[in-house]
């Protein structure tokens, strides 16, 4: 990893731990192993580092979205997969997705940074809302809606059903982000949540 990118990486770590204002340019430089003034050869100022992180995140999520449409992971395909899944496989999938978002180093740090900075900047609040509320809800609404139209889930309100599926997952992520020691307990609740959801909204046996 070149210096320019290492600066981004270390800055993201620090910002996610202490917040933008509590991180000094010299802190970032020290982690990278250079002196603060050298850092200005790579970025115009401190703010530019922050913005480059946001920019990088945007690219990552755009790529991810593209990959979802191009490869076999579109909602149509996912809905098909879901239909033919046993409860056991469904639990495994839910757990893997949850753990990915929880542990993936980039996601984890970025989520924490956004949590801290979201109220300082309206744009960041939008980014936060989109990433962790609206995008998951609309994707899952589409997904669960297709499964429901196939008759594997039963509801007269797909949006509320999706809220019932996702809100507990969001809450468990909130718990684990703040107290990693509760991960095991949360994973158990995740399992039970999915099992219960499956029972409530019904799948054919």
């Amino acid at each position: 990893m070149d210096t320019k990118h290492r600066i981004l990486d270390e800055a993201l770590t620090l910002f996610s731990e202490k917040g933008y204002a509590n991180v000094y340019v010299s802190d970032i430089a020290e982690r990278v192993g250079i002196k603060a003034p050298s850092l200005y050869k790579h970025y115009k100022n401190k703010r530019a580092i922050f913005e480059a992180i946001i920019e990088e995140m945007n690219e990552r999520f755009l790529k991810q979205a593209e990959a979802l449409n191009i490869s076999g992971f579109s909602a149509e395909a996912d809905a098909g997969i879901y239909k033919n899944m046993s409860e056991k496989e469904l639990l495994k999938l839910g757990r893997e997705l949850f753990l990915f978002y929880l542990h993936d180093n980039y996601n984890r740090r970025f989520r924490k940074m956004l949590t801290i900075e979201q109220f300082a900047d309206k744009e960041l609040a939008k980014v936060y809302m989109n990433l962790y509320v609206d995008a998951p809800l609309s994707y899952q609404t589409m997904l669960l809606g297709m499964v429901a139209s196939g008759g594997m889930l039963h509801t007269d309100n797909v949006e509320i059903m999706t809220l019932h599926f996702y809100a507990p997952i969001y809450m468990l992520l909130t718990i684990c982000d703040r107290d990693p020691e509760r991960e095991e307990e949360s994973l158990k609740m995740l399992d039970e949540h999915i099992r219960q959801f499956d029972r409530i909204y019904g799948r054919k046996e």
Copy 2:
């Protein structure tokens, strides 16, 4: 309100909007209508203001908890009330509670401040978790558990049922805190959520 308390009030407003580090002692003083040095006659330093806010919050919530036990608002009483409520009344209660937490000036500002500061200080993360996750979940688990044992709700896992009740409410609060324009939409979802919850976990008609 005396100056000492007005400092706390204005500081809380500013901290909730910009975060501790981005608020200057002179900003707080200006809002109060005095100069920064005068403020040091009331509080030893900036940190002491922050800690006084936390302290005040602790007292408020302790008082609230006491009131819950002494007056008619214990979980036992609440459970009794719930049993005899029509769905319409249940919706009204849910909405009133939601709006209280959302709009109550002290709650709103304190919740935002904690959201911003929680990762900078392990103690604050604990406070956040207790106030917005653990305390509501354990109170509601007790409440819904009693209603269930009375036969008005049906489940073999009260904790998951409570998660299904509270997590969507927590998520809707998250939405409204970040974008007040979505309040109306969120209230509609709240209604539909409670109605659906009522249908799923069943009440006698």
